[in-house]
Each structure stands twice: as C-alpha cells, then as structure tokens.
C-alpha cells in the first residue's frame, strides 16, 4: 500500500539532493539544474496530495510551478550567457564582480 507518506519521503529525498547540488557544485549550470530538481520535488508532493484528496487543485498549483520554472530557467540562462560573454567563466566562485 503506497500511502502519501511514501511520496512525501521521496519528495523530501529529492529536495535534499537538489539542495546538496546547489551547495556543493561550482558550475552555475549544474546549480540551476539542481534548482529544477527542487521544484520537481515540490511538484511530486503537490500531485501526491491531489491524488489522495481527489481534488484537482494540487495539479493546478503544479502547473503554475512548471510555468514559473520555465520563466526562471529562461531568464537565468540569459543572465548566464550575458555574464559568460563578459568574463568567460561559469564558475560561481569567480563571479565576484560585486564583492568588496
């Protein structure tokens, strides 16, 4: 019997893997992809509850999460490209133009 707790555990594990990716990697594109993993973990949680409560509102929320993720990916990758044209690096430890 797969209860929503199973789905929540899966979602928590995926979330923590995404957070580890954001913290431990230095390539900014991998950091963005880990953020997408975090958003997917949240979506799994929403849809699991939508299935348990038989209410489609969870899926509507998940659609909005996907739309916002698409917008964020587009703008974020535009910023990466603009930065790469100036400084020729994708390592976030070298993106310190505004540091003291």
């Amino acid at each position: 019997m797969i209860t929503p707790t199973h789905y929540m555990l899966l979602s928590a594990a995926l979330f923590v893997i995404g957070v580890i990716g954001v913290m431990a990697r230095r390539n900014i594109i991998i950091i963005f992809m880990s953020i997408e993993l975090i958003l997917n973990a949240v979506n799994i949680n929403l849809i699991a509850f939508s299935a348990q409560l038989q209410n489609a509102i969870g899926q509507v929320f998940a659609i909005f999460v996907i739309a916002v993720a698409a917008a964020e990916a587009a703008v974020g990758l535009g910023i990466i490209l603009a930065f790469y044209r100036n400084k020729e690096t994708v390592n976030i430890d070298e993106m310190n133009l505004m540091r003291w």
Binding site: T5, A12, M23, L37, Q59, A62, F64, Y84
Partner: protein, 170 residues
C-alpha cells in the same frame, strides 16, 4: 501490489538519476541524466492518476526547459574544467553533513506523523466535468483565472527579458 512495485522502481530511478545529475563531472552528461529524471517523474505522475500533468511535464520540462539548458551548455563548454577554482571559504563537507541531518529529520517527522491520526481535511467540492484534463481546465478557467492570467504575463515578461539579455547589441 503492482502499484507498489511500480512506485519503488520509479522512485529508485528518480533518486538514482538525481544523484547522478548532482555528482557527474561532465556537464552534458548531467543534463542528460536530468532529462531521464524528468521522464521518470512523468511516469510517477501517470501512477498518481494525473495523465495531463505527465504529458505537460514531458512537453514543457523535458522537451523545452532542458533543451534550453543543453543549448547553453553547448555554447559555454570550456576547455578548462570549470571546477578548477575554489573559494577557500567554502565548507562543502559541513554543508553535506547538515543536508543529511535535514533529510533524517524530515524522514523522522514524516514517519512519526504517519502513525498518528490526521486532522480530517475537507475534500474539494465536485466539479461539473469529469476527466482529469477537463477538471484541471475547469479550475484554471473559473476559480483560478487571475493566477492564470498573471502566469501568462510572467511568461511574456520572461520571454522579453531573455531576448534582451542574450542579444549581442541592444
């Protein structure tokens, strides 16, 4: 029974590919593992009786967003490994330890609360249409019309922003 097997198999693949996304050195391989991860998440949505969202996940996430990532990865693929330079103030191992602690804590909370009687949640009212796609469409166009329109404005602004940022000369 079949649902349990399907869930465990799909969950193992999702977590396995997620770990591979985070730990692979080559960026292109990492993007490919992300695509496979999203395809398995779509399979999980089918298991959760949400076929519309599964198709949207494949169409938008795996077929749109990750293609965008792949394009950018190919345009910025450098010869020297981008992980060569490290900020000496980084404490990676402490971060990993804290993340493992958070995961254990979340797991403990979930397992503990799953054995307690939960507060009853009022299920939503029945909608005048049947079928998953029709229900999602009904909600989007009646109760949640304003967030829908705002989301479309957000996508328009993101499109304009991405074009302006990536142009060579304004």
């Amino acid at each position: 029974m079949a649902e349990a097997i399907a869930f465990y198999v799909i969950a193992a693949f999702i977590l396995g590919f997620a770990v591979l996304v985070v730990s692979t050195k080559d960026t292109v391989h990492s993007v490919l593992f992300l695509v496979l991860d999203f395809l398995f998440v779509a399979a999980l949505y089918v298991l959760l009786q949400a076929p519309f969202l599964a198709a949207i996940q494949v169409l938008v996430y795996a077929g749109g967003i990750v293609v965008l990532y792949l394009f950018v990865v190919m345009l910025v693929n450098l010869k020297r490994p981008p992980e060569a330079h490290q900020d000496p103030h980084r404490r990676t191992k402490l971060g990993l330890g804290l993340a493992a602690a958070v995961l254990l804590e979340l797991g403990a909370i979930l397992v503990y609360t799953s054995t307690r009687p939960g507060t009853p949640v009022a299920a939503g009212g029945t909608l005048p249409v049947t079928g998953n796609t029709e229900q999602v469409g009904w909600l989007l166009y009646t109760n949640y019309l304003i967030p829908f329109e705002i989301a479309s404005m957000l996508l328009l602004v993101a499109m304009i922003g991405a074009i302006v940022l990536a142009k060579r000369e304004l």
